[in-house]
Symmetry: C3
Subunit: 354 residues, 3 copies
């Protein structure tokens, strides 16, 4: 009872914090059909500056971090990303009305990470005065790439198996995988390589890696402290506004896809967040990963990719219907993930006793 | 004599202040046909950030304001907005060469409020260290909506009367107003509702209301103080530059409309400003409205809408010629209003003795 | 040996400084075909803000500067700009595979000044705590306009001479220059005037002159200190990123032009920088021009115009192939000039003994 009322209090107070308030404000504007619009170039600039900031701050921290303290949450992030996709494969993809390709793409997107949701989590921890490892930004790509790779490879292998089966039934000779012969599909290294390259070239991961590189190998501290760090919250408030707006407008598209996507879009962030929270707590036990770090691991797992994921999936799985996975992720998954951030703070505090 | 030399001194000093200096700089650039251009997306971003700031700061202040202190200037603002349109109906619309629709649209635009002119007034008061009520931003929509509603309803009713008359003369049956029958045109509630909805959905009023809502119901203070407040003057300087540029380029269009528009565009801001100053002085007597508040009431009345008004009028009065009302407002009204701000400061100080 | 190791140390340390690190980061992103892009409107805004800042800061300084201290580096800057074009005329234009028009346009572009390179130089001196004259920004247009005028006039006169010769060989009557008659080509005042007007109207020079005017005749100090000055480094980092990106992508175009352009693009910045350094040292002897001022004179001379020059040349010399001069300047000249800034710092310190 005491825990519940405390949780409710925390949730209500968080809704008034700038990050969530701007997200909800954007949804309200879209709901009343406001003509306020933030043009695409501004969106691209804001995202780039936020990711450079997250990357640089991670890079600067990695310089001083111990390898073990870094590797343990990194490996756990990979496990979280892969698990989320496997769970999606076993639940969403088996449901009625869900095409296999659409389901795998959606599971991949929900396993991948949203940079803006991560940034929102960081801003809310800063607001609350909760410390977290500076290198968290460097863990993001591990979970992100692991999930996208798993989803795309499983979807491609399933498609080839189907194609092989229909070839056999037509009396043809089955050729599974690009270099595969009998026994089962071989690992398609060319596919893995092309997905990796495509992910690295995506605007979000490029900006993050650039920031990481600058933080690691250069000394960007002066411009970081005079520009990227002070503008962080303000730019994030603009981004939240746009994401709320976009989320509301995407909801309309949900009508055209199976109803199960609605349930997945709303429930998956909570279940995935719990997986991330669990991984974070394991890291806390093993290497003393901080309370803030545990929260951000949950936030990353709960989030679904909104910038880099969609184009990567569109390129790798052209048969999947973007209305299904993008609308579910942007219209439901992202606001659900952002709005659930206070929950992870409350739960992490309950478990670790911050 | 002493008053005049003091006034001249104030005016000259104000021309050097950033706000006016950037406006004049923009006009000079346009006059020398510079190819410097600030792209549309940047303009939209700057306007949105300024209006969010004005709205948030008003919302934060309204939280602590007394209802009477707020309601009195609000009602006086409505009176000012309506009066300005009625004066335009009795002067501009009756002049030779002015089509009734064009004249009413122009009067509506000059009664509505320019957010950028208001922001310029605030920055100039800040510069001069003159205090004003924080909730002023919340009064803006009262004057703005009152003026637009009055102008559009009067123009529509006049058009229906004309149509009815020509129907009668052709032997048809007169149907006045949507639900009206004989006696005179009934109030068209559907029209009023559609104008209100359209105004609220306009980018400027949306952004202002969002800011107000955030200030009232959320706690955006941290991002307000770290981002919106410090960037305010800089963003305003960019906007002033663009408005000076735009004003000069619009002047060319004036050649295509009746000469009386030139007189109206230059004189109306002064006369309307005096009306606003009067309303402000009444509020000063009644509720102790501050000297800065009186100045800003005059600034709002003197200004003509440049962001939200034009599209609203274009939608509601498609028969009116945009060259007439937009060129008069943006080319003459807005620079005249901004350049006259120091005059309202000087007059308010003379009356109240700040 | 000691000097060399010190030079290498300075160079390596400078590569890690934000300015160069972001430039190199942009090149790496382009090299790995990242899809990160900074839209055109953002680029225009960033350039405008940087040039307004450089101009305002120069204007504010000019208010207090002595005429002689200003005129001497100004005249030396003109000499440097003209010399660079004459050297280009005597070397690049005479080489095999170089069309006369293309060579003159390239020489003009390398004589003109890059605002972003100058800004990078200023930021690096600020970083190193090396003082320089505030009015340097006011010297920029002298070198820039002198070089562009010289190149365009020489190219136009050569073209007319060629046309006259072919006219003569066809039995026609030679008419040289617009008002010229026999003896040699007369000075074409109309051409000079049109180049001057075109340069002044170019976005870069417009923004710089506006800033200068604001600094000289207005009091923009409050907005300068609260907005333009603090954002300078951050905006510069964004610009450097874009310039590195652009430089790498332009390199591909170099394949289509003669190989000598590669040598010119890499060597010219070094030789021109030495000329600028020499001029700066003369000013140092004559008027006590500061060490930082000497460095910036070298930086201006080493740089090649990237914003205002190309469109001016395209308008004035339509026969020249933009692939040749823009690719050489943007792809090689600009990165070479920016990367050589630490060299001018080291050399100026060696000569003056800062």
């Amino acid at each position: 009872m005491d825990f519940l009322s405390e949780l409710t209090g925390t949730l209500l107070a968080q809704m008034q914090k700038p990050t969530l308030a701007f997200l909800i404000g954007g949804m309200l504007l879209a709901a009343m059909s406001s003509r306020l619009e933030l043009p695409e170039p501004v969106y691209k600039l804001v995202v780039m500056l936020l990711l450079l900031k997250v990357g640089m701050s991670a890079g600067i921290s990695v310089r001083e971090a111990e390898l073990v303290a870094l590797a343990v949450p990194g490996i756990l992030a990979v496990i979280a990303g892969v698990s989320i996709v496997l769970i999606g494969r076993m639940t969403l993809v088996r449901l009625r009305g869900v095409a296999e390709m659409d389901g795998m793409a959606t599971a991949g997107l929900f396993g991948a990470v949203s940079a803006s949701t991560l940034a929102a989590g960081m801003a809310m921890l800063d607001d609350a005065g909760i410390a977290y490892e500076g290198f968290i930004g460097a863990i993001y790509p591990f979970m992100d790439v692991a999930a996208l790779l798993t989803a795309i490879i499983m979807a491609r292998m399933a498609a080839e198996r189907r194609a092989a089966r229909s070839d056999v039934s037509q009396g043809g000779v089955a050729v599974i995988g690009s270099g595969g012969a009998g026994g089962g599909p071989a690992i398609d290294w060319a596919l893995i390589r092309s997905i990796l390259v495509d992910t690295i070239r995506s605007p979000a991961i490029s900006a993050l890696l650039l920031g990481l590189g600058l933080g690691l190998f250069a000394r960007p501290d002066s411009v970081f402290e005079s520009f990227y760090e002070p503008l962080f919250r303000g730019l994030l408030s603009i981004l939240m506004l746009m994401m709320g707006f976009e989320a509301w407008n995407r909801l309309g598209e949900m009508r055209r896809v199976a109803h199960v996507y609605v349930f997945y879009g709303l429930l998956a962030p909570l279940i995935h967040g719990l997986i991330g929270l669990g991984m974070g707590l394991v890291a806390h036990e093993l290497t003393g990963f901080s309370l803030g770090g545990v929260v951000l691991m949950a936030v990353m797992a709960a989030s679904s990719s909104d910038i880099s994921g969609p184009p990567t999936l569109r390129g790798a799985l052209p048969e999947a219907n973007p209305s299904a996975y993008i609308a579910t992720s942007t219209g439901l998954g992202t606001p659900a993930a952002i709005l659930s951030i206070p929950l992870w703070v409350a739960l992490a505090e309950a478990f670790i006793g911050g």
